[in-house]
């Protein structure tokens, strides 16, 4: 029945309408009706107005139905319906207090709010008070007192539902109907359930309190809100209590004057601060800056300050931000940088190659040290090993990495790797750092490895060279000793001869080895004196004379003689060695020439020439190495120790000279060596 636009009417309007209706009814009640003859008639129709209309009771009309009455009733009912709907929708209820009957009556809405049984009459007086929160009862009574005195009231109080639930309500009351004497006989009022609204308010309050608690308790930091308007510039609207803790200034002071805070910003950072502020204002982009701020005590601290701006409808710009003390962080960063720099310097000084490897074959850190990397890489450039090393090298390495991580024991292995065409021998150590990483240290062992191999070879050779003459000595002597051969027999004499030769050979070998060792270790010091080359050559020829005579070989010395500054005995040794070779590799009856002449004005050139067997071209390069025999033939009749030329080379080198050979197979050899002539010494003939 009610129309949509009726619902728009405010409850105030509706109350007015109802009041007007009631007034009309009251007027009607006082009207007298006459019938057609003019005789007064009493309305006889009693209309029971339902209690839900807000009042109960009957209206007694003495006369019969009248059209006016029906209209009125209809109007009333319409209004009533509207009013009910409004109440239902708006969680509002209306009530009435009748002073005459001293009763209160409720609309459906009130029952709904109270959640009490609508079939029962409303609670009265004291029972009603039961439903009001004890703390609010006093105010309720006051309000009633107020309206009884003819004044409207509006209060908020809490009511208790039968379930025990507390609801917040807004109660309004106003004086409604007065009698002819002007006494208040009826009070009208409304009841509005505002629990949701109140709850929302409480939540907001709670939320604010939370925020304040949080912001005030940010460790080493504070929250803030800054406004900018063209008339006032920048000003703080809010700053949390933390600012006092971290800087020693109070929020109140900052709110009053932003410079209390701004002046504490470190001088060097102020410019940038202003610039970033302007920028943020212009572009509405977030403000972010690490800056130094002085505490009120003077101590400088680092802060990370961040805020995001919004433009408000009124043209102001607002930033909500947070500032956090990051001094500790900065200190740690600086310490880390410092320690990293130290580490880099240390690592650079370490000659070994250092690698930090992950379990999945990734190189995390690399320092080559003095070694040449297979493929160069930057220190912190992460790479997969498979991209920078041959597959088999990586596989081998990763095997040891895994072993190191599993067993937590140091792993050591050696490998050969070809670097730029040269085979290098490297020792690798692997130690686990944690469950997924290991550190690898690589050392170049090429020289040591080569030296060890050379040493092994040398020992092997020497051992063979010693055992060979010892064999013939032992066999021969054992035959003589066991009496199996008579010393004075032909066989016996052969045996003795073989022993003698064998012993000689051993003696030469032992001497040569000792010489060589002393020359190499530097224990044999060259002691230079003035020598005449004539004397040196003569001494060497004298020593070799017997050997030469045995094969009818003639040695031709030079005619010239020069003075040279050298270790005479050692040079004689060199000449003796060269002569010995020349004799041994010449055929019987051959000739050997010894010569010496000036060379480039700074040295003397010695030469020993033979026309013997010669040396094959492929052996020329290695002939000065140890135990190199240049035997072109199968026979080994004139075997030397194999160390002679090596010793010659060492002696000549120690004098500062060079030694070399020119030879043709089948045509003979010429050995040359130079000895520098000291400056200032002239050579006399």
């Amino acid at each position: 029945m009610a129309e949509v636009n009726d619902l728009d009417k405010s409850k105030a309007q509706l109350i007015e309408e109802l009041a007007a209706l009631r007034a009309e009814v009251a007027t009607l009640r006082q009207q007298s009706f006459t019938d057609s003859s003019g005789k007064p008639i009493q309305p006889q129709l009693c209309v029971e107005i339902p209690r839900t209309a807000g009042w109960g009771g009957t209206i007694d009309y003495r006369n019969g139905e009248t059209a006016e009455f029906h209209q009125l009733l209809e109007k009333l009912q319409k209004c009533e319906f509207t009013w009910q709907t409004v109440q239902r929708i708006a969680h509002v209820g209306s009530w009435q207090y009748d002073f005459l009957t001293e009763t209160v009556s409720w609309s459906d809405g009130v029952y709904r709010i109270f959640e009490s049984d609508p079939t029962l009459p409303p609670s009265q007086r004291e029972t009603l008070e039961q439903y009001i929160h004890p703390d609010d009862r006093e105010r309720y009574r006051e309000a009633i007192g107020q309206v009884s005195g003819g004044e409207s009231f509006e209060i908020e109080l809490r009511i208790l539902r039968p379930s025990g639930e507390i609801r917040y309500v807004e109660v309004r009351g106003e004086p409604g109907v007065f009698n002819e004497q002007g006494q208040l006989i009826r009070v009208f009022g409304t009841l509005l359930d505002i629990t949701e609204r109140r709850q929302a308010e409480l939540n907001l309050k709670e939320s604010n309190a939370k925020l304040t608690a949080l912001s005030d308790n940010i460790p080493k930091g504070f929250l803030y809100r800054i406004f900018y308007e063209s008339s006032n510039g920048f000003y703080f609207n809010y700053i949390s209590a933390g600012v006092e803790r971290v800087l020693g200034i109070t929020p109140a002071a900052v709110l009053q004057d932003k410079n209390v805070l701004y002046n504490l910003i470190f001088e060097e950072d102020q410019q940038r601060h202003l610039q970033l502020n302007e920028n943020s204002l212009k572009t509405l982009s977030p403000f972010e800056m690490e800056m130094r701020i002085r505490r009120i005590t003077g101590q400088i601290r680092w802060f990370s300050v961040r805020s995001s701006p919004r433009r408000l409808e009124d043209g102001r710009t607002v930033w909500d931000g947070v500032a956090v003390d990051i001094t500790k962080l900065k200190q740690v960063e600086a310490a880390l940088r410092h320690s990293e720099a130290e580490m880099r310097a240390m690592v650079k000084a370490i000659p070994d190659m250092l690698i930090r490897a992950s379990k999945d074959a990734r190189q995390l850190f690399f320092s080559p040290g003095t070694l040449t990397p297979y493929i160069p890489a930057e220190p912190f450039e992460e790479k997969s090993f498979y991209d920078i090393l041959p597959v088999d090298v990586v596989d081998q390495r990763m095997e040891y990495v895994r072993r190191a991580i599993e067993t937590r024991e140091l792993q050591v292995f050696e490998l050969d790797i070809s670097i730029n065409g040269r085979i290098e021998h490297r020792e690798t150590l692997v130690a686990a750092i944690n469950d997924s990483e290991a550190i690898i240290v690589v050392r170049d062992m090429t020289e040591r490895h080569w030296l060890e191999q050379a040493k092994d070879e040398f020992i092997s050779m020497v051992s063979h060279e010693l055992r060979t003459p010892l064999t013939s000595i032992q066999v021969a002597l054992s035959l003589l000793d066991d009496g199996l051969v008579d010393p004075i027999s032909e066989d016996g004499r052969t045996m003795i001869h073989i022993v003698t030769e064998g012993v000689d050979r051993l003696v030469r070998l032992v001497n040569d080895i000792l010489d060589l060792k002393r020359l190499e270790s530097g224990k044999l010091r060259i002691q230079k004196h003035a020598c005449q080359t004539q004397d040196l050559i003569d001494a060497a020829i004298r020593q070799m004379q017997d050997l030469a005579s045995q094969s009818n070989i003639t040695i031709f010395p030079p005619e010239e003689s020069y003075e040279v500054w050298a270790d005479c005995d050692r040079i004689v040794q060199v000449l003796t060695n060269l002569l010995s070779n020349a004799i041994r590799f010449s055929n019987p009856g051959a000739m050997v020439w010894v010569n010496v002449k000036e060379w480039n004005g700074k040295a003397l050139l010695f030469s020993v020439k033979d026309k013997g067997r010669g040396i094959p071209a492929d052996k020329l390069g290695s002939i000065f190495e140890r135990f190199q025999q240049a035997d072109g033939s199968d026979s080994r009749e004139k075997s030397g120790t194999g160390l002679g030329l090596t010793i010659c080379q060492k002696i000549v080198q120690q004098h500062g000279g060079c030694i070399w050979v020119e030879s043709r197979l089948g045509q003979g050899s010429t050995f040359y060596f130079t000895l520098p002539v000291e400056e200032g010494k002239d050579h006399a003939k």
Binding site: S460, T468, S472, V475, T494, I498, D634
Partner: protein
């Protein structure tokens, strides 16, 4: 009693001489000598000795190469070979163990020891 003939191949002529005399005096075996692999093989083919005493370390072609060559020649591949060597290290012994030879004798040795070892290895008990 068949007279044994042994071929000794060693680049050191001193050793060849003393070994020859040792066998002559102790066992009366005939000893042929050669101072290189080449001469030795030629002599073996020509003379068909009953055994070969072969030096390991010789210049040009050493004992091991000589063994390979002998193995390839039908007429001499079944002649038992005993190596004479100054190398006594374990890794060398292991290498020799793989070869098709009768045995290894290490230098130096006394005359009588040499003879008895040869007898044992070839099982020529007399």
């Amino acid at each position: 009693m068949p007279n044994r003939r042994i071929l000794v191949i060693d680049d050191d002529p001193g050793i060849c001489q003393v070994v020859q005399i040792a066998f002559k005096v102790i066992t009366h075996w005939e000893v042929l000598i050669a101072t290189s692999s080449q001469t030795g093989i030629t002599l073996a083919e020509a003379e068909q000795p009953d055994a070969i005493l072969l030096d390991v370390m010789m210049p040009k072609e050493d004992g091991l190469i000589t063994i390979e060559k002998i193995q390839k020649k039908l007429t001499i591949q079944s002649i038992p070979i005993i190596l004479l060597t100054a190398k006594a290290q374990a890794k060398d012994q292991a290498k020799f163990a793989q070869l098709p030879i009768a045995g290894v004798i290490t230098k130096p040795f006394k005359a009588a020891t040499l003879v008895s070892q040869v007898r044992d290895l070839l099982q020529w008990g007399e």
